[in-house]
């Protein structure tokens, strides 16, 4: 199978298949694969690269699951380094951010699977955050957490989601997907819900009109074939529901966990994963280069390997930092705009649902704090209004 045949398929709008994915992963010339991905990326998003202003809250690292790739989790409340924020402490993080005068449009909440907290902890957490900042978008709880709530509190998934939505939940983050293959899950995260359950939570959420993201944790013990299969299962659900907004490849970081003897993926594998994902996931609109994980340099470079998003200002990331990430805890939006524009792209501040908050005009001055919707191409606008209707 030649790259040119794959290019022909892409040109003709034919979805790539499993074999194409493996070919793309194994192809000797990374830049040829990247050129194809970049072509697709530019057709879809032009020169735009998205970012947002967000805050990460990891309310607890106490977790009943013993995933071997995780450096963040602690098994019990009294384990060394274990913490659980009081609701007041969690809310204070938001108040602190607002008191600094920084604005934000999204709070990203991901936690350990804590078996000692009542369900009200989570609903109160969301409701409190909304009280402090009513317009903020709450992207909270991975499918793994939702499934844990379902099991732990004995509620159907749909009811869990319904009650969280009533408390303020706006969308789901894409974490916990890891690698769908059973072989890998049995070895690395046997306590976590399986692929079908993960996908089913998202299916249910999409059915309720909630948007979500999706991820893949790569670079540990999985094979190339298992990566391709993972991507195709995400694509399959997207064909069914259309509810995924963004795919985020997550590189395995080896520090401080049970897999520390594994080397972790290198930058060339990171970029390859972006390019392959952009080409395989034709029906998922966005591809995010999560700078916390990749480092600023690789995240910037990824904007030419298929990515069209660089995540947000973040503030206080814990999960990757306990696994050895050496990136800063947060960036200002000016720093993100700089990084994007120096990559030759146009920086667009978005909200969680990819509505444009502010758009740069590509003259190097970055986005102004005005709602210049007119900067966005008509096709993009219609795509967004569709998204809103769907939601």
């Amino acid at each position: 199978m030649q790259l040119s045949q794959i290019a022909d398929k892409i040109g003709a709008g034919i979805p790539l298949d499993f074999d194409d994915g493996v070919v793309l992963y194994r192809h000797g010339n990374l830049l040829e694969v990247a050129a194809l991905a970049n072509q697709v990326r530019e057709q879809r998003h032009g020169q735009r690269t998205y970012f947002n202003r967000n805050l990460h809250i990891n309310a607890t690292n106490v977790c009943v699951a013993g995933c071997r790739f995780c450096s963040f989790a602690r098994l019990r409340e009294d384990s060394a380094g274990a913490y659980t924020l009081t609701l007041e402490q969690a809310w204070q993080k938001l108040r602190d951010r607002l008191a600094e005068g920084s604005s934000l449009t999204e709070i990203h909440i991901v936690n350990g699977l804590h078996d000692g907290l009542p369900f009200s902890y989570y609903t109160d957490l969301l409701a409190g955050l909304k009280r402090i900042h009513p317009t903020v978008h709450l992207k909270a709880f991975t499918a793994v957490e939702i499934f844990f709530f379902h099991q732990h509190f004995g509620m159907p998934v749909v009811e869990v989601l319904q009650r969280l939505r009533e408390a303020g939940l706006d969308s789901l983050p894409g974490g916990g997907a890891e690698i769908f293959a059973d072989r890998v899950r049995r070895k690395l995260c046997p306590d976590k819900c399986d692929a079908d359950a993960w996908l089913d939570v998202h299916r249910t959420a999409h059915g309720m009109g909630l948007r979500s993201n999706c991820t893949m944790l790569y670079g540990h013990i999985e094979t190339v074939e298992e990566r391709v299969e993972h991507l195709l299962r995400l694509r399959e659900l997207q064909t069914e529901t259309g509810g995924f907004q963004t795919f985020i490849p997550l590189a395995f970081h080896p520090d401080g966990n049970a897999l520390r003897k594994l080397p972790g993926p290198t930058a060339v594998e990171d970029l390859r994963t972006f390019a392959v994902a952009r080409l395989l996931l034709h029906n998922i609109p966005h591809l995010k280069a999560y700078w916390i994980m990749l480092g600023l340099k690789t995240a910037q470079t990824a904007q030419w390997f298929g990515a069209d998003d660089i995540d947000g200002t973040v503030q206080e990331e814990r999960i990757y930092h306990t696994a050895g990430a050496e990136t800063p805890q947060g960036l200002t939006s000016a720093e993100l705009v700089h990084l994007i524009e120096q990559a030759g792209r146009v920086a667009i501040e978005r909200d969680t649902l990819y509505h444009v908050v502010a758009a740069g005009d590509g003259d190097g001055r970055g986005p102004q704090r005005s709602y210049r919707r007119s900067m966005v191409a008509p096709s993009e606008q219609s795509e967004q209004s569709e998204q809103v209707e769907d939601a």
Partner: protein, 578 residues
Amino acid sequence: MSVVALAVPRRLTTRPLTFGIEHERVAGFTLAWGEVDACAERLVAGSVALALLPSTCYAALAEDLRILPGIAVTMLATPQSPLAEEQVLDPLATTIDEWCARTGLPFVSWVWVGRPGAIDRVQAEALGRSLELGRAAGGQEAGLAYRLGGQELSGLAALVEEVRTLGGVRQRGLVRLLDCGDGPPALPRSARPGAVARSTDALLADAASGERLSPEDGLRLYHTAALLDLGRAADLRRQALHPGDVVTYIIDRNVNYTNLCVTACKFCNFYRPVARVAHGGAYAAKSRDGYTLSYAELARKLQETVDLGGVQVLLQGGVNPNLRLSYYEELFRWVKANFPLALHALSPEEVSFIAKLEGLSLAQVLERLVAAGLDSLPGGGAEILDDEIRDLISPLKCRTDTWLAVMREAHALGLRTTSTLVFGFGEEGRHVLAHLERLRALQDVTSGFTAFICWPFQAEGTRLKLHDDTTAHRYLRTFALARLYLDNIPNLQVSWPTMGPALGQIALRFGGNDFGSAMIEENVVSQAGAVFTLSAAGIERCIGAAGFAPRRRNMRYQFLSGAGSSAGLVSSAAGSAG
């Protein structure tokens, strides 16, 4: 004009070199035919000006003989006729294929040899024309090339050293070239004359196939070419220059023997200023953390380097006015007498400062340093080779012309050097292109640069408050453009100490063929915010994961044994760099 006598053996492989003369289309030469031994005898006796000799034969001659630059016969593979091989290999017990695979360098089989001053520039150019006519006539054996460029010069130096080691000659392995005035008899590879303005795509395609870019073309690419397009063209160029997907690296140590410095560059966070002490000519550090390493400290560092499999030490300091030429001579002799390490030492700024301090010419300083053991010069201190920028960022440092003059003198003495560029000082595209053009033009004359390295200015803690673009995107674009523009500098080294291992690895797909150094120590950029470390095993993993085979090398880019193994820093490569 007097007629120049040439001693030439009758060989099919060398026939293109004398073709124009034989067919009386190039005048001014007489040919004296004879066997190799007879040719060498005539040259030594002085009855001919030049002799065409196997490089192994040149290596065995004890006289002060020089090589004609630009032209040689290089064998890319074992030739068809076994006789030809036998002649050029003696006394090496090897085959051409084996030698090339082992060293990673081209096998330079035949060279024009003469005494210093044997011919002038016009005559050298005439020899170039003779070869041109011979190549145009065709008919030569396949698998031969006739250029003596940077990579070939490295091959020649490695070969000469091997022959001399076999013969028990403890002579330095430097290959010195005939000084024929300015001009190289280099084979013309200039930009297409009178070419109409081409599209960016066409420019990139031509550059990828090895066609020379004009400064205007380069500037256009600098401003208009997209990252991936530059990268793909540079990657093709890298493949053509370094077939086999091998990426090299070296184990060495960066020893900064002093941090006292009078140049006070605004971009530097390493140096400590000095003040003249009231009585006598000595200078003292203005701050308490100024240092000059003692021999005891140096010995510890160098022994560690040897123990960790290092083959070289990079000695660079501040420009310390207390240190005279005699200090360096003693230091170099002491290093050479006690450690099996190559000396890659003193950037042009230091050399030109010593010359000023001693009232000597650059050549005199370099000759004495070579006699004391200097093997090669690092290409540091180039920053941007354009005085407009130098005036702004380092007004006390050597000017562009001086930097280039030191390199030219070093190359003329047979030293090989690297070349560098640091961007992000607010310079414009034209400054970057002027820099690249100056390096390329000098390389056309000397072929003395082994490699080019670039990196962005590291601003943290320095006095230079700039907001220039120093991101990964600009690094990769600049690096790829340099691979395309510098068609005569063989190796492009990625700069992982400043960019990090991730970008270093990515840059291998943007024209890089060398991963630089498994540095045991670095003091300069790490003082300005770049804090990355990698062991040899880490480097090999980066190289391997990018799809290349890692090999250890010395400063000439000759493969070393023990390379390619993932044995980490501890191995037995020491000593082979001589």
